[in-house]
């Protein structure tokens, strides 16, 4: 029980988070003297296989027809079959929707323990300890997993990537056949972010909160501002629940976790649950009417003012500076 399994769903590609995850797997395997098996699921797994092979010993490819699109019960059964055979010490996943959905159930079926949203990982007397934010981002806890395998889904952006091995890993198709479960099946999927960069990959973000007051200023003020800054738009939970913008725009503890070079917070107070989604941002700036707003305790620079006055003027200045 020395090997490490890492599982990636092809939808995200071999992105920065996946690279960090691979780094953890590699270091953990070195610590226990085991190997890393990378299970890749979904159409597009083939492309990732080539990118990840230099960093692991074996790549198990699951891009067969019935695995092309994610089905929770099917993918879970397959992962259980593979891991029951490999008997790994730990199974690592990313923080995407599918991983979060399956990880606890995978742990249960293998009589192991799971924990999620890890930002740091250590080994203590053979047991895995994972650090994660709790209390809506206000505190930090270290959780020790008591059963094996240890299943952890991690914020890959918080970890260093792997180093290339001398020999590239072997790529093999998955031999196991997943058992179909007709009790629950995904029958329709809809992408609502066509043409836009993923918020998780955006380098500049302009985010609006309750203070924006409605859907229109997102379109008339924040969108043109974002265009001038080369930014993606995002929002707080309050703005999404009010129906002002799409739910996909939500950044925070239960929304997107972003890591931009610049995060400009407009009309948002900076509730800890929102800040939990921007802990990896390099620079945070804010426009808010309240000098005591919590956001100002978590930004590098900002302005106390009404965005309705500040943003039009800011757009003029940015246009002038670009000439």
């Amino acid at each position: 029980m020395k090997d490490i399994v890492l599982c990636l769903f092809a939808t995200a590609g071999f992105d920065k988070a996946a690279q960090g995850l691979t780094g953890v797997a590699q270091r953990l395997a070195a610590e226990s003297g085991g190997q890393v098996y990378a299970i890749l699921l979904g159409s597009g797994a083939q492309a990732i296989a080539a990118e990840i092979a230099p960093f692991v010993q074996t790549v198990l490819l699951g891009d067969q027809a019935e695995l092309a699109e994610y089905q929770p019960e099917l993918c879970l059964d397959l992962l259980v079959q593979i891991c029951a055979k490999l008997q790994p010490r730990a199974i690592l996943l990313s923080s995407d929707t599918y991983s979060q959905e399956l990880a606890p159930r995978l742990a249960h079926r293998l009589a192991g323990s799971a924990v999620g949203d890890g930002i740091a990982l250590t080994v203590n007397d053979g047991a895995l300890r994972i650090t994660r934010q709790v209390y809506g981002g206000k505190a930090q806890a270290v959780i020790e997993l008591k059963r094996t395998p240890a299943v952890a889904w991690l914020r890959g952006n918080s970890f260093a990537p792997a180093t290339a091995a001398a020999v590239s890993g072997e790529i093999k198709p998955i031999a196991e056949t997943p058992k179909a479960d007709l009790r629950s099946r995904i029958v329709e999927r809809k992408r609502e972010d066509t043409g836009e960069l993923r918020l998780e990959d955006a380098r500049v973000i302009v985010a609006g909160g309750r203070g924006v007051g409605g859907p229109d200023p997102f379109k008339t003020e924040l969108r043109p501002l974002a265009d001038l800054l080369g930014a993606q738009l995002a929002a707080t939970r309050a703005a999404c629940d009010a129906g002002w913008v799409s739910a996909n725009w939500q950044v925070g503890q239960t929304g997107k976790h972003v890591a931009p070079d610049l995060y400009l917070a407009v009309g948002l107070s900076g509730a800890s649950q929102h800040l939990a989604g921007i802990s990896e941002a390099k620079n945070v700036a804010a426009i808010n009417t309240d000098p005591e707003a919590n956001i100002f305790k978590h930004c590098q620079f900002g302005i106390v003012g009404d965005f309705r006055k500040v943003v039009p003027l800011l757009r003029q200045k940015l246009e002038a500076l670009s000439k």
Partner: protein, 268 residues
């Protein structure tokens, strides 16, 4: 349809950061003067059940908690929102049991309460936020599970469940019984109970058990740490001092803001 909504009562997560305190020895937050409230995602789940009942009629909604005796208040609120029945398994052991412990207690209580077609939970709790209780409960009951749902409809005895993903949504067709975890959306903001209904809710029956009543390993349940254990709790010191832009006029201040922003974006 027989619907079970599992709910957790937590310390109000809207407590401002400056008032938030923890006990590093007990490894939990200090309540201080904060209120205890139902977890918002659990209320989103209850609202989902209520809306489903509004849609299909002839359904019974039961709410269930595993928590301290104070959790009764949150269950009474659920009754005031027109849930039909409520049950509380009083936790007299580890106040922060691991998610498998919670799942085992909820599974046993659910079986004792009778058969359910649909079991709803919030996607995670606003305090510890493990995000695992729903999935583990599904496994304990041998049921399929859909996570992060924001819409549940019933058509011809089947459930049509929409759930959010990073890039949009997915729609599933499911045959009951099933466990579904709920995330927030515009349509499941919880309704406000009438004050009169909250008062009346205290006249309704509320089943109370302890882990001894459930036919499970009570000692393990009270210990609540065989799956995982919190070894450390701390508040990271990470505050920065905001460099507010200066200038006598708004124009000067915004000019400075523009320059500071482009200093970063220009270098990308």
């Amino acid at each position: 349809m027989n619907i079970l909504v599992c709910m957790k009562q937590i310390i109000d997560p809207e407590v401002p950061v400056r008032d938030f305190r923890i006990d590093p020895v007990k490894r939990q937050a200090e309540r201080g003067s904060a209120n205890l409230v139902p977890n918002i995602f659990c209320e989103n789940a209850l609202e989902t059940a209520l809306k489903l009942r509004d849609l299909i009629g002839s359904s019974k909604i039961t709410v269930l908690s595993y928590g301290a005796a104070t959790a009764e208040e949150s269950l009474r609120k659920a009754l005031a929102m027109k849930a039909d029945a409520a049950a509380l398994v009083v936790n007299d052991g580890n106040p922060n049991p691991d998610p498998l412990t919670v799942a085992r207690v909820l599974a046993a209580a659910a079986q004792k309460l009778g058969g359910f077609d649909l079991i709803l939970l919030g996607r995670e709790a606003g305090d510890w936020g493990s995000g695992q209780t729903g999935g583990l409960l599904a496994e304990e009951l041998g049921l399929p599970c859909i996570a992060f749902a924001d819409n549940v409809a019933a058509v011809d005895g089947k459930l049509r469940v929409r759930r959010q993903t990073e890039w949009g949504w997915e729609l599933s067709e499911a045959v009951p019984p099933i466990v579904i975890t709920i995330t927030n959306c515009e349509a499941n903001v919880p309704r406000l109970p009438k004050v009169r209904d909250v008062m009346m809710s205290y006249r309704q029956p509320l089943t109370k058990w302890t882990v001894d009543d459930l036919g499970i390993d009570a000692a393990a349940a009270r210990a609540g740490d065989a799956y995982y254990e919190v070894t450390e709790l701390s508040i990271p010191q990470k505050e920065s001092v905001c460099d507010f832009v200066t200038g006598e006029t708004l124009d000067e201040q915004v000019e400075m803001l523009a320059r500071r922003l482009t200093a970063i974006t220009g270098a990308l």
